[in-house]
Symmetry: C2
Subunit: 193 residues, 2 copies
């Protein structure tokens, strides 16, 4: 009989699969439906509209990758420096798979206030991690004198954002390892000098 929750997940998986494959092609409701083996209308039984589906898909993807757990693990690094290294390493590893989803949102949130709100909500986790690291630098007496903890957090957050990753890895052809080492060095330097 396939419970409602099962079908919902099935739709999300289908959407995710399409996003990962069709790097760039636009994701349509019809496409997701047929990928999931359902009628287009069935999708509307589970999601109010396209935006809601894509928001749910992003959260589903985060969950599937255990993103929250990984952020929690970063907090357990032995030092602020190690935490930054772990955060950048996480980005280097995850972004190749996460980027397609990220990209869809860049598009979507431009003309949908609700999506924009959901997006900011989703970013709260990474922002929180950055804030914690900044505070930790301060606690270690290593935070650069010219930076407030908030400014340091913002800076770290933007330096480890998928956007910067995209510029370097996709745009300039950097390898994951090159990104990891350079951005780690850069971020630590930016926060401590």
């Amino acid at each position: 009989m396939s419970s409602k929750a099962d079908t919902r997940d099935q739709i999300l998986e289908a959407a995710l699969a399409l996003v990962q494959e069709n790097r760039g092609t636009s994701l349509t409701m019809g496409g997701v439906a047929s990928q999931a083996g359902l009628s287009r209308q069935a999708v509307y039984l589970h999601f109010q509209d396209r935006a809601a589906l894509l928001v749910a898909m992003a959260l589903h993807a985060d969950e599937a990758r255990a993103l929250a757990a990984k952020f929690a693990a970063i907090a357990k690094a032995p030092s602020a420096r190690a935490a930054v290294a772990a955060l950048v390493a996480l980005r280097a590893g995850d972004n190749p798979a996460a980027w397609p989803v990220e990209r869809i949102f860049e598009t979507l949130r431009q003309d949908d206030a609700l999506v924009e709100a959901a997006w900011r909500d989703r970013l709260a986790g990474s922002l929180e991690a950055c804030r914690a690291i900044a505070q930790r630098f301060q606690g270690e007496g290593a935070l650069a004198r010219h930076l407030s903890p908030d400014a340091a957090a913002d800076l770290l957050w933007s330096l480890t954002s998928p956007r910067l990753w995209e510029e370097l890895v996709i745009g300039r052809g950097w390898s994951a390892e090159r990104y990891r080492s350079h951005v780690t060095y850069l971020a630590v330097g930016a926060l401590t000098h």
Copy 2:
């Protein structure tokens, strides 16, 4: 009789005006046409399709802001450090107006290879400026030992990209001045330590 070139510019100005106003709303061919006081079909007489119009619009905007001249001016800065400062200052001043156009492209280049190519072509100018600055740091013997000139150029380019500006100024609410001073310091530090 209004030459063909005049009307073309008129359409580009109309498109630009709509992009600057409707922060977020999607730009339609019909909208541009009526803003320009023309029929929708007239627009297709001047531009093959929507993508071509938007590419032309971006180049037109660059020209109107004399972007190339500003990049040339950066090359005349008294030192590599001053050149970085000038580049970041340019971003801080220009990005508020340039960002809406940038944003349209982020969307568009995802599913149009020709637009992607035009985009990369357009970025060549800023990349070249970054390469020149990196080389200058090296000439001054100030380039960080762990950086090749190419890596330094890539790093500088991504640190001064509109994406990073957007993260900090739009996303985190930084003022133009705050962005300017922190990113200048960050970029100089990243390239010279």
